[in-house]
Symmetry: C2
Subunit: 260 residues, 2 copies
């Protein structure tokens, strides 16, 4: 589409990732798509920023830019420099593999949507619970429809959507569920290997995650064949704990003094 609302598309797998291509093509039916994405795989970059060196932007073709930074860097550069106007929507994905429970916190895909939200732009992240090579068809089509809904209805303030789609055709998907972010009940496995000189080193991030079994969680919805949509908030304050701590804890610097 050469007119319509401006949509920024990014990801954490790099600008040539097939999930990004599928997403951008589908969103092109909904608005004017500009892609600004990392020039290589930046998985597990979380919300990291590049602050120790300057970033380069490369224009690959009309509406396609890569940077040598993280997904978050891409959103900042796109909105502050490349686009020339504030987009109406930021969409990040499609990630090959789910972003569920605690793992959301490591995700570059989700962090790009967090950055969009911080900049005041409705944003969502889309991940596909697949093993590569993945068929992005259903996830892309759902992302296109969700984009249209958000452009029409907006999103609650300071809130992004974390979308996880199960593998399969649209007919095979059970429906959508709005979910909470679950917990991952597992400690990351560490694999010990040796380099050619016999020195030990360690790989992290392996192992099989054991998800929270809560009925209403993101992980359970995907396991049951539903598209999971979790509204995530910029504000991480635990208000219950805030109330509890405010009442119960003394100031250790002032202990013994009058606490009035």
């Amino acid at each position: 589409m050469t007119d319509g609302p401006l949509i920024l598309v990014t990801n954490d797998d790099g600008i040539f990732a097939p999930g990004l291509q599928a997403l951008a093509e589908e969103l092109d039916r909904v608005g004017r798509v500009v892609v600004v994405a990392p020039d290589r795989d930046k998985s597990a970059a979380s919300h990291s920023l590049t602050m120790q060196r300057p970033l380069r932007v490369k224009k690959l073709s009309v509406g396609r830019y890569s940077t040598d930074g993280t997904p978050t860097d891409c959103v900042i550069l796109a909105v502050g420099k490349i686009l020339g106007e504030t987009p109406k929507l930021v969409v990040s994905g499609i990630n090959p593999g789910p972003n569920l429970c605690d793992d959301v916190s490591y995700s570059g895909t989700v962090s790009a949507a967090i950055e969009g939200t911080m900049l005041g732009i409705p944003s969502f992240a889309v991940s596909l619970a697949c093993e590569e090579p993945c068929d992005y068809g259903s996830a892309a089509r759902f992302a296109g429809q969700l984009a249209g809904m958000i452009l029409g209805q907006g999103l609650p303030p300071d809130t992004l959507l974390n979308v996880n789609v199960p593998e399969g055709s649209i007919a095979e998907i059970a429906g959508i569920k709005f979910t909470r972010q679950g917990r991952r009940k597992y400690e990351g496995a560490i694999m010990e290997t040796r380099d050619p000189w016999g020195r030990e080193h360690f790989w992290i991030g392996g192992g099989i995650p054991v998800w929270d079994k809560g009925e209403d969680t993101d992980a359970q919805a995907v396991k049951d064949g539903y598209i999971s949509i979790t509204p995530l908030h910029l504000d991480r304050t635990n208000y219950g704990a805030l109330d509890y701590l405010s009442k119960g804890w003394a100031d250790p610097f002032r202990a013994g003094e009058d606490q009035s």
Copy 2:
């Protein structure tokens, strides 16, 4: 201390950072301190993991280890490999400069405490609202006292503390306030510079942040001279938005079908 509870200390500024040294020395009065920290500055690493290459661990002296990974990598390697037992507390810091409002999300310092919490260990992050060179005395002393309190009383489930200390002597600090995480009402400034060959590139992360003016925020407390303690939750779900979306949004794949 050669006995007492095991305390893991880490940071995002690297193992030789003076804020880490001050923190480790103070916590040594409270328990057995082991430091596992990045071998170099990893500021703004957020909660990123190193998954594309193996990680090396270097033992520098008794109870002092560096890794070539991120703060989060350090916590995972410490708990899963180096320590040999689960620590009773994870403390991350002392960061030179505050970690307030939205900026918490970029922080490697805070993310190390998030990782500790994910692993089921009471954890907190300490930052000092200073410009370098910083005097870490008051912040270290407060961290030691807080560590003692947490070892005695525990923390609410799935919750870490983000502590920000204003500069100054203990007498100059107004007290402690339990706060919520505020918003940063500013879009990151981008500085355009050129390399020796005339090619443009961009620095991000500059500019002067404009904090949320809310009375009860982390930023306001520090501005008023208080130590701010914000309880942050692993669960980022916006439950108000979850309720709203669950009631109001149709499934676009099933629109027109019976929604019973």
